[in-house]
Amino acid sequence: MATRLTVNGKQLNTDLPEDVPLLWVLRDEFGMTGTKFGCGVSACGACTVHIDGEAQRSCQVALGDVWGDVTTIEGLGTPDNMAVIQQSWLDHQVAQCGWCQSGQIMQAASLLAQNPTPTDQDIDDAMQGNLCRCGTYPRIRAAIHDAASKIGG
């Protein structure tokens, strides 16, 4: 039975079983590889996407349970038309290997949507589920503050 999803504003169908995690539907079925696999057990945040605007671990959401519109890193902005937060990430030269960064950015975007002027403590609380083995945290923090100041005007 086909399941219908809305991803980045597009309607997409899949025949995969309903228990397949959204992460693997996006990556292997829809070819949307911007969302990354890191642990599969909700311990790293690399797979973070938005469902109805809120950050979720896509490795933990079964296809049959997706309750709203999905936004992935590809839906946030493109190299030629970046979202403000992506531009801040670029300005601060955040990424090293980069594998965690889609998830970091989606998590941070969700934070800023709820809290346009986060304190360092707010950033700690919101971002601690997102692991970065390359240790880019200082620049992530700077980029979030930068994006907050730009979005807030």
Binding site: V94, W99, N130, C134, G135
Partner: protein, 746 residues
Amino acid sequence: MANIRKIARRTFLIGSAAIVGGAAFGAWYVNRPAENPLKTPEGGAAFNPFVLIDQNGITLIAKHVEMGQGSRTTLAALIAEELDVRLEDVRVLQGQPAQAYYNSALLGELVPGNGYDRGGFAHALGETLGVLGKVLNMQVTGGSSAMKDGFTQMRLAGASAREALKDAAAARLGVAKSQLKTENGQVIAADGTTLAYTELAAEAGQMDLSEPELRPASEWKYIGKSMPRVDMAGKVTGTAQYGMDVRPEGLKFAALRANPKRTGMTKFDASAAETMPGVEGVYDLGDAIAVVANNTWLAMQALEAVEVTWGAALYPNETDQIFARIEQGFDLEANSTMRDDGDAEAGAPTGSLAVEAQYKAPYLAHAAMEPLNATALYTGDAMEIWSGNQGPMLHRQHAAAEAGLTEEQVTLHTPYLGGGFGRRGDFDYTSYVARLAVQMQGTPVMLTWSREEDMRHDFYRPGALARMKGAVKDGRAVLLDGQVSAQSTTVQVMKRWMDFEVGGPDKGHVDAIFNAPYAIENHRVRGYHADVDVPVGAWRSVAASFNAFFQDSFMDEMAHAAGVDPLEFRLQHMREEFPEGAACLEKVREMSAWTGSTPEGVGRGVAFAYSFGTPVAQVVEVVQQDSGIHVNKVWIACDMGTALDPSIIEAQMFGGMVYGLSAAIYEEITFSNGEVEQYNFPDFDATRMHTMPEVEVAILEAQEHLGGAGEPGTPPIAPALANALFDLTGTRARELPLNKTFDFKY
């Protein structure tokens, strides 16, 4: 050439005798230019293995893989500096496997001597030995060597192409070459006429290449500046392509389950798995099973349903037994005595105060963020492979062997690596996918490891033990007699990668301890190869990662025994021995406003390590909070010789530090019943946003030679932190990870 390879394949001495080996190959062989792997494009030119220009644009080739360390950007900037192009106007691609891209600097680390006082002669020897890499097909990214390797070669590549383009323009315009200048991808004549490189390339390709002069540092536009990374836009928009992101037409998805005891497999029953949703086949890979499906997750689910009987481990089953064997290593003959000043055998001199301590460091996994994976398509007489790897020629060679093909029949692509840290030098995941693809002729297949497979089938940082004896008198160290026992990474890696039996003193094994730049009257360092066979490999900074912990924890213990401020104590022994190293210590003293005393509830520690050509000093501050001890701030000073790109170096310094900090506090690989007990991040955690210290990095440029950036930030943090914790609590931790002894904030 076959002959040369045969000579090289004999026992290869890793200590002083290697130089003899290097000389034996002769300049005639190693100086022959390697064949240009780039084909001349339609209407353009491949000037050398690094610069290709045609009507569509300018392409630069990075010889080292990009795993996060930023080398693609800096290698391109070095070419661009002389070629006169802007990075935003060029494409930068990863080099295919080719001898032209061999690493000339990596083996230079094997030169005898401590490195830090390497004079011109020893440095030249290092370069001579480096060319061995060419004989051995070592196209390897590792050893923090990319910049030492590329600094001159890349600039020459840019400059010689630029000169050829000017020759072509001079011929076309009928003016003297001296009237021409170059800028932003164009040749500009005195009358203002501009000719784009893209339209001159075909003619320029016909010009004779001469050895050009390189510009002096005073004229550099890019070198020494923080360049925007060429991989950044892709990485912040999810469009950068990593190994796991390739999608060749008709791709199938497979998952792997290999023996957690690291030997073969007696039997398996896959009948339940075969009928599970999405499953298209179950394959026997000899010592592993692969399930192929229409989705990676469905393949992983089906793998769980396969019943396998695994072979037994070839190493002791339990962690304690493994460490007992490491302990027994001290009873064997020392593999090396790389430092032996004065008379350490005599023990503590009369009138001195003896200090003794033993230390322990665990096995560690790499846990790169992107789990291991590779993709292959086998078509009978050829194979195409996509594998994020740190050694393209090595991976291709082993994939070809799996498929019974020649290396030329295998095309290997190296997409971005979601972290490497040394793990992706090993080629097991590339071999597995090649083995699978052969059984699926005509169908491309991606083989992905779960995080659990990745963590439990690593080539680990070896566990290590140290016995340290010292003595202090009148505020100075008068004896330091260190012994280290561990498995040798060098021996195992050379055997696995190159089929080399290495013998002789293993310098890498005692790195950052034998060459710790402290002048001590009686100073001996002996290395022991423990006789145990847990799979081990290169882990960011290799043996320096544990040796620095032993060395600089013990320096701290001696400082306290001598009643001297630990930072001042180090300086006293280093100022004359290695002024550039001492300057790093002075720098962190200034940055952290070090006074030697801390208020109640605050602790500070300092440590220093010299590795991969770079001295690094770090000061750490810890604070006692209600929820546990928090690492509050780390000050880092390093000396790079020339800082090619300050932003990238800064990122490597704090990134390397965090990698070591995570290990120092949380990480340990243990064994039970022959299997690794850690499965996933909850068992092998790391520093996160809320536990991350503030960092401050200073980059000095006093050294004569270029230092590496990727690894030297890692070794000093474990001892600096242990020393800070001693300052805070009065408890001396001699075993890692430190959460065994202290309660950290979670």
